[in-house]
Amino acid sequence: MQTQFVLDDVVTVLGPDGVADPATDPKLPGETVVRLFKHMLLTRMLDERLVLLQRQGRIGFHIGSLGEEACILGPTAALGDDDWLWPCYREFGALLLRGMPLQTYLDNMYGNANDAVKGRQMPDHYSGRPYKFGSVSSPIGTQMTQAVGFSWAAKMKGDKSVSLVFFGEGATSSSEFHNAMNFAGVYKTPTVFLCRNNGWAISVPAGQQTGSQTFAQKGFAYGVTPVRVDGNDLLAMIKVTRDAIERGRRGEGPTLIEALTHRLSGHSTSDDPKAYRNEAEMAAERAKDPIPRMRAHVVALGLWDDAQEKAWAEQVDADIKRAVETAEKAPAPALHTMFEDVYATQPWHLVEQQAEAERAPRPAGHGGGH
């Protein structure tokens, strides 16, 4: 028997004209399709606004998802209410889709007193336990092994929940990827590994991350079902993630999904892609933007028109403005919060250090404002 080690197939549903292939179309209700398209627009508008706010010096940082909306929102939409999502750090759109209010997210971007993580982390390092959404950290890949442990625990307890974990193709070079894939394969955990291959790990191209022909094929070695999918195709993302979740729920173990997409911006607001990207290449990628493709689909279905888009854009714009204003008015977290949650109860040395901080002069420009 010839064993297949290279994966050539790329699952696609939507053609460039927005017409869905009936063979692979997940056949979502019209209202769901519209809701997701509207969320793609919201995510894009919010991304653009946050970059502006960073350029104006009003927030410190943003790491966005420009161009990757389909491969972030599609898998999230495929999750059931009891499933869990373990983020990398580009998935604020997923967090909002899972139910975090826009205001709560913006409070995180400002690190203010209302921030769910109490201003302890950089912007976009949110935590969303009420939405079954993990806590973001900056080290690469650590969430993968944790997602495997979490879904393994769920399996042991007979709970049918599946864990979806996001990471970029750069993270496949980390030891965490190996650890996570290996444990998932051995214990057949209900884990969906979602690799967004956007072509770049900051400035290093995907071809310099691996000698493999594809990232998905690494799954073969671990006993993890591999899938390649057009990551700019929201419906294809929903289809392959649904299939992977069902496999997990049926006890058939983990899936590695490689979503082929493009990062239509720098790595973050701290990055300048002009140093390593050329304009012609980026223009070609912009032509594959998932949003116009999905717009063509909803328009072709007769579910969307210019007037609706204009009204939605106005509403989102007003919502963002209001949330930004509220976040900017909120005070900084109180000094004592810095010393809380290190341990369940404060040990003597933190009691002493908190008292020391409270006696110390407050620095200008930090803590008191933004």
Partner: protein
């Protein structure tokens, strides 16, 4: 009351907690069928099954990363790292993730577990089966660090650690595993975390020690007694958060202190202890505080007994400090 060695006492604590709390699972390399390379988990696999005493792939990062996920789910994982020398592949998961989860998530995601791992030298283990890496973890906010010196404390401290809401690194001094026996009550009891114990009261000089080196400190104290020096020996038991009150009270009484540990001298926990003593009891000191520790070399094989701060090296430090 039964006599147990530390291997049996730790095994007994794990068995009790596996019985008492269905959330508890053990995972690690070779801990199942074979019962661990030191046999600390002997027979637990037979008693509780492969789902609660899990033989894992050979991957410390995978063990701790997966255990964090289990903890976030609400289980109480107890991972074993076969030797603390091999904990470093898991360092990122421990330091960047486990230690910070509660804090960084605003309290949404406490990640509680006890990482058990054999520590220390004197067993002819060379560089990679002998080290004492406690200072790396004491230096990391969010972790607790425990190191028992005897079977009674090992069981009682482990039961406390297993029920504590914070992540705990539980270092088991492997040189003591089968060397010391003591009376260990059957059934449930706890030794509270962050409480040191004065194991030998004295008037002239305080010696702070833990784990296997406690016995060397006691031996040195007994020898010093023959020269008229009355040494107070304090077993720290929990290294962090340390029982500062017991330390300060002892140093205020004696005015003199020697700290003993196996780990290298520079930035070892002894440095922190002496800094704390200087901050809190400086005017009570009658002599410069002294460290007797491992040297700042990799842990050696053939010359390991020269490297370790054994009684022979502690005794002159006690005499000099007492007579300063």
């Amino acid at each position: 009351m039964p006599q147990m060695n530390m291997v049996q006492a730790v095994n007994d604590a794990l068995r009790l907690e596996l019985k008492r709390d269905p959330r508890v699972v053990l995972l690690g390399e070779d801990i199942g069928k074979v019962g661990g390379v030191f046999r600390v988990t002997q027979d637990l696999y037979k008693e509780f099954g492969a789902d609660r005493v899990i033989d894992t792939p050979l991957s410390e990062g995978g063990i701790i990363g997966a255990a964090i996920g289990m903890a976030l789910y609400g289980m109480r994982p107890v991972p074993e790292i076969q030797f603390s020398d091999f904990i470093f592949p898991a360092f990122d998961q421990i330091v960047s993730e486990l230690a910070k989860f509660r804090y960084r998530s605003g309290g949404e995601f406490p990640a509680k577990m006890v990482i058990r791992t054999p520590v220390g030298g004197g067993i002819r283990g060379g560089h990679y089966h002998s080290q004492s890496p406690e200072a790396y973890f004491i230096h990391t906010p969010g972790l607790k660090v425990v190191c028992p010196s005897n079977p009674y404390d090992a069981k009682g401290l482990l039961l406390s650690a297993l029920r504590d809401p914070d992540p705990v690194l539980f270092f088991e001094p492997k040189r003591v595993y089968r060397a010391a026996r003591s009376e260990v009550p059957e059934g449930d009891y706890t030794v509270p975390l962050s409480q040191a114990k004065v194991v030998r009261p004295g008037q002239h000089v305080t010696v702070l020690a833990w784990g296997a080196m406690l016995y060397e400190a006691i031996e040195a104290a007994n020898q010093a007694a023959a020269q008229g020096i009355d040494t107070e020996v304090v077993d720290l038991r929990t290294l962090w958060p340390v029982d500062i009150d017991t330390i300060v009270a002892s140093v205020k009484k004696t005015g003199r202190v020697v700290v003993v540990h196996e780990a290298p001298k520079t930035c070892g926990f002894g440095a922190e202890l002496i800094a704390l003593i200087n901050e809190k009891a400086f005017l009570h000191l009658e002599a410069p505080p002294v460290r007797v520790t491992g040297y700042d070399t990799p842990f050696p094989y053939t010359l390991e007994m020269d490297y370790l701060p054994l009684a022979g090296r502690i005794l002159p430090a006690l005499i000099e400090t007492a007579r300063y």
